[in-house]
Structure formats: C-alpha cells, structure tokens
C-alpha cells in the first residue's frame, strides 16, 4: 500500500521530468540543425568529395572521367613543378616561422617592458594584420621594384651598383616573399605573446627578484620563457599553418615565377584546378596540403602532452 502511494506520487513527477528531458533533447537537436546542414553541405560533403576526386582524372567540362587509383599521386612524384612547389613552401615556412616569432616576441617584450607608447607601438606592429593583403602586396611591389623602387634607389645611393631584382630574380624572389610574410605575421604573433605575457603572475617576478635574480636575462630564463611555453608552442603551430597557406602574395606578385622559383603548394593547386581545370590532380595536391596541416597539429598535441603543460 505505501508503495502504491509512493508510485502514485512519484510517477507524474517522473513523467514530467522525462518530458522535460525529451524537450531539452529536442531543443538541443533543433538548435544544431541549421549548423549541421551547413556543415554537411559546405564542409563535410565537399571535403569528402575532394578525397574521392583525388583518385579520378576528372576535368571540368570533360564528358567522361574515371577512377584512376593513385595515378595522380604517382604523377605528383614525377612532377618537377610540384616538387619545386613543395620545396619552396617548406623553405618559406622555415623562413617565416622562426623570424616572425622571434621578432614578434621581441616586440612584445619591448612593449611590455615599459609604460610609454604601449598602445601606439602595438597598433603600428599590428597594422599589417588588418591591411588588405592584396593592396599591401601592390605596395611591396612598388617598394621592391628593381628600377623605380625606393629600396633599390636607397641601395644605389649606398653604392650598391646593381641591386637585386627582388621579385623577378629566381635567386631572390623566395626571400622577398618570405620577408613580406614575416612582415605580415609579426603583429599577429606579437599580440598573442602580449596576451601570454600579461597572464604571467606578477608575483613570480617578485619571487625571482627576492630569490636573487640580478639581470633581466636571469628573470627571462627563470620566469618569462618557461611561463610563455604554451603560448610559444601555440604561436609556433599557428604561424606554420598560416604560412603554409601562402597564396595571396604569390598570386599577386609573382604567380609562381620566374621559372617556378616562387611556386608554392596552394598556388599550384589553384593553377592546376582553376586554370588548367585538372580537378583530380588539384584535389590530390589539396590532400597533400591537408596532410601537412594535420601533421603540424599532431606534432603540437604531442608536444603539448609532453613538455609545456604545467597543470
């Protein structure tokens, strides 16, 4: 009898809580529906299609196409253009990443070291991040122009008789693009480092002073650098991923030239896909690009687990 009473009391309650839960689940699904549809149509399906495409000889406008297995990847191994693009991309990333990180860290440390001019310098260093890349590429084109460019005019005045053709000599073009890439990334890295620096507890510096650190370098080694560990790792990965995507400056300034000296991965993919309309081959290059990005992320998670997390 008491059980019956208890059941009579509890069952409407349970039912209503179940109804509540069902309502919550329904709403949860409903709220995810628009994002889910867009995700499927704009990200998931096309990305899967890219993977499939990489194993076909599909060309835009072609009447027939077929599965060709790994032939695109085999072609890639033979393709001198692809090899150069891959090499150039790696060189570009290897150039831009360390330099823009060092300069970004340097700028952040210098700004953080005093009270004067913080907002001003932060704004100046950040300006390239918010500037229209294509327009700034045009400005660089003028700045680096072999005959009328201010840089070479300056070098000539210094006594350099034949200053380099920055963007049209195969010896210099990759270096010039790299310098522009560094210029673009410093501000972004600086902002991330500034955020990292401001998260370091002031008391650690005070403890370091009481513990007997005499120089700036001592405190940097004891506190700043280790405490920036997670930030640095993050900046490292994000800069590599950002610079592996180099496209705008190449498309505007050199289009991969001269003689493929500045050909990079995404530009090759763009040319194969949208100029030569060889979508299958272009998709295969895209997959290589994707694998490189995934590899970087994987390395980051590995390192994150191991070293720089202090719990």
């Amino acid at each position: 009898m008491p059980e019956a009473v208890a059941a009579a009391i509890s069952s409407p309650h349970q039912a209503s809580s179940r109804r509540l839960l069902r309502g919550e689940a329904l709403v949860g699904l409903l709220l995810n529906l628009p994002a889910g549809i867009a995700y499927g149509l704009m990200l998931l399906l096309p990305s899967l299609a890219t993977i499939l495409l990489a194993f076909t000889d599909y060309e835009l406008g072609a009447m027939e196409w077929g599965w060709i297995g790994a032939a695109n990847f085999e072609e890639m191994l033979e393709d001198r253009g692809f090899a150069i693009a891959l090499r150039n991309t790696i060189i570009y990333v290897g150039f831009v990443t360390p330099i823009s990180i060092l300069l970004g860290l340097g700028a952040a440390l210098l700004i953080e070291a005093g009270m004067r001019g913080r907002a001003l310098f932060r704004a100046v260093f950040f300006l390239p991040v918010v500037s229209l890349t294509v327009a700034m590429a045009a400005a660089w084109q003028y700045l680096l122009h072999p005959t009328i460019g201010p840089l070479n005019a300056f070098l000539r005045q210094l006594g350099v008789i034949s200053p380099p053709y920055w963007l049209s000599s195969s010896d210099w073009v990759l270096f010039s693009l790299g310098a522009i890439g560094v210029w673009e990334n410093i501000g972004y890295n600086m902002v991330l480092f500034l955020a990292g620096l401001s998260a370091i507890p002031r008391e650690l510096y005070q403890a370091a002073e009481v513990d007997g650190t005499k120089s700036w370098l001592d405190r940097f080694r004891l506190v700043t650098w280790p405490m920036l560990g997670p930030t640095t790792l993050f900046v490292l990965t994000i800069t590599m991923i950002r610079s592996i995507r180099v496209f705008d400056t190449v498309a505007v300034l050199t289009q991969g030239g001269p003689n493929k000296a500045s050909e990079v991965l995404l530009h090759t993919m763009y040319k194969e896909g949208f100029t030569f309309l060889r979508l299958g081959y272009s998709a295969a290059i895209t997959l290589v690009f994707l694998l490189m990005v995934l590899g970087l992320v994987w390395l980051q998670t590995k390192a994150l687990d191991k070293r720089v997390h202090y719990g």
Binding site: D218, G229, Y310
Partner: protein, 380 residues
C-alpha cells in the same frame, strides 16, 4: 642593531598615503606580526622591506647595514608570498634550489650545458643539493622533491615556499599572508609549524596578516596598522588588554569590544548618558571600552534591553542595547547562565580595572581614581 630596522618609511600612491612615517624594529630571532584591515598598507611595507617596491622616504637596514638602495637580489631577505609564487615548470627540488643557484653560481655556470664543463662546478652543485635536501627534510618534503607544484596540495605548496625561503639562511624572513589560501583546519595546524620553523631559523621575521588570531597566537610582538600608520607595537597580551588607541581596541578582539560614549565633567568625573559612573579622568568627552567578557549581569548598573543570544558552545553571547543611547553591547556569559528574554530590562556592571578610557582623539587616558581600581562599578 641586530635584526631588521624600518625607519620613518613613507609611500604615496598619487594622493593616497599608503605608508605614513612608519618605524618598526624587529630584533634578530624575533617574530613580529603586522596586522591590519586589508588596504592598510601592511603589504606595501613588506614589499618595501623585500626590495620589490620602493619607499618615497625613510631607511631600511638589516644588522645595521643600510639596504635602502639595494635591489631585492642583494638584500638576503626571504619572502613567502600569499599564493606561494612557486615556479610551475620547476620541480620542488629545483624550486628550492633557485635562491642558492642564483647566489652561488655565476651566470656561466647556470647555463644548461656550458656550466658543466667549468671546474669546481660539481662541488658547488653537490653543496646546493645538500642544502636543498636539509631544508626539504626540515619541512617534511623529502618524498615530494621530484614533483611539480601543479601536483601538490595547497598545504604542500605552502611548505615548498617556506623551504625555498629558509634554504639560504636569510637575515630577515618576510611572510605575506601565507595561510590565507589554506582551509581553516590546516591553517591552525600550520601556524604552529611556522612558529617552529621561525625558532629554528632564528631570523628576524615580519609576518603580515589581516587575521588577528594569527597575529596574537604566533607573534612575539604584534604591530597594528591602520590607514598607513602604525598604531601600536606590543606583546599580544598588551595589545589585547592594554591598547593605547581606540582603533587598536576595536580592531583586536572578537566579538568587538563594547564602546560607550561618555563625558567627564570639570572635576573629571565620568558620566554615562548622564549617570555618574564613579570613574574619574581628564575633563571632556571620552569613550569607555569594555571587553564583552568583562561585563556581567547585575541587579543594578547600566540599564539595557536584552536583544538576543548567540550560543558559541564554550560561552554565550548576549546582545543588548543601552537603554538611553541605544548603543549596541555584547556580553560574554557562561553557556549555562540564565537567559533574559528579549526586551527584558537588564543591568550590567564591570570592574574599574577592566575599563579602558580614550579621549576624543581616540588616545588612551589614565583613570585618576586609583583607589577605585578593584571596586565593582555599579552606577548608582
């Protein structure tokens, strides 16, 4: 002087006077607690002693050596921070070794690889390792030496901070609210440990806290600070029983000391709400302060209305209101004492020796009628 000496230190933050001509001596081996409400300037004073903040004016010296112009690194002063400020990327062992490495090893020797090659390096390393081991042993950290601070409990971290502070045998030992991040039970236990460590280290110790019970239980002398001024520096007993300033009397003691406004007539006889009290001091308005445990229920005396009770276990607090002035009063009674019901008229009495009299500036004044000292004041 042997120990720490703070002479006429002042510090302003813009318009705010954080420290106003503060002087304080801490003898070698002495434990002084600096207590005051938050924002009173006690932490600023400690930071100035440590050398991580500068004074506008005044001198700091340790063992008669003027260190005012020296940097923190050159002072041989150790400090325990409120949140311990341990280096999260270093193990316990490395954390404790930092002050020794910074002092005993040259910049070259501290380089990760290069240092190893230098002659004499391994002896120095061994000496540091030995001292770290001793200091860790003293605090019972032997088993935790290879952990990182992130893997330790709050109490363990606190001990690492202490070990890091004592490892170098400092001339002065500073502690900035070191117990405030611990839970209540651990706090009481750690008090004793800190006092023990202090006794073993023997350095002049300045201990900042906002918790008066910490100050009273741990220190040889207590310095009470308010609004940038040192009000009184005395033994815990004197601070409690013999405060020289009404702000000290009201800050120390829980529940708060009872304060009654009163007036001494031309002859110096003190009247409470017009009633003669039999006490005598200099003429003028005065405040009478009596601790709750020194008031008792009587058949006649200060007329009050009972308000309510708080049962504390070992005692019973009776809340009452002065019949005429409506000033709130608290009386500490034995737990089994009969309880008047709310609104009931009661009378309070006290012994003359227990009443503290302050002039209108809040300064303590002496009672004139010494004969009456042991007399029960019942106010006719």
């Amino acid at each position: 002087m042997h120990g720490l000496s703070i002479q006429s230190v002042s510090r302003h933050f813009g318009e705010v006077r954080a420290l106003d001509n503060v002087s304080l001596d801490v003898a070698a081996g002495e434990f002084v607690a600096l207590v005051g409400p938050s924002g009173c300037g006690k932490s600023t004073l400690m930071r100035i002693v440590a050398g991580i903040e500068t004074a506008d004016d005044g001198r700091i010296s340790i063992n008669s050596r003027d260190i005012t112009a020296l940097r923190a690194a050159e002072r041989n002063v150790a400090m325990v921070f409120q949140n311990y400020a341990l280096y999260p990327h270093l193990t316990v062992r490395e954390n404790i070794a930092v002050p020794l490495a910074m002092r005993r090893l040259s910049a070259l020797e501290r380089l990760p690889l290069l240092g190893r090659i230098k002659p004499g390096f391994s002896q120095k390393r061994a000496a540091i390792a030995e001292d770290v081991g001793k200091s860790a042993q003293a605090l019972g950290l032997g088993a935790l030496l290879d952990r990182k601070p992130g893997q330790l409990s709050g109490g363990q971290r606190q001990r690492v901070a202490l070990a890091r502070a004592i490892v170098r045998h400092p001339d002065a030992f500073l502690m900035d609210e070191p117990l405030s991040n611990l839970d209540a039970a651990l706090r009481v236990q750690t008090r004793r440990e800190i006092v023990d460590i202090h006794r073993r280290v023997g350095a002049a110790t300045l201990y900042v806290t906002h918790d008066q019970s910490e100050a009273l239980t741990m220190a040889d002398r207590v310095a009470v600070m308010q609004a940038g001024q040192l009000l009184q520096v005395s033994s815990p007993e004197a601070i409690y029983h013999d405060p020289q300033d009404i702000r000290v009397a009201t800050f120390i003691g829980s529940p708060r000391i009872n304060v009654l406004a009163a007036e001494a007539d031309a002859a110096g006889f003190i009247h409470i709400a017009g009633q003669p009290s039999g006490l005598q001091a200099a003429p003028g308005p005065v405040s009478l302060a009596i601790r709750p445990e020194n008031l008792r229920l009587a058949s006649s005396g200060i007329a009050c209305r009972a308000d309510g009770f708080e049962f504390l276990g070992e005692s019973l607090l009776l809340h009452a209101r002065h019949g005429a002035t409506k000033e709130a009063l608290i009386i500490r009674l034995a737990p089994e004492a009969p309880r008047p019901h709310a609104g009931e008229l009661i009378h309070l009495s006290f012994e003359a020796k227990h009443v503290l009299v302050f002039d209108r500036h809040g300064k303590r004044v002496a009672l004139r009628n010494h004969i009456a000292q042991h007399q029960e004041m019942t106010l006719a």
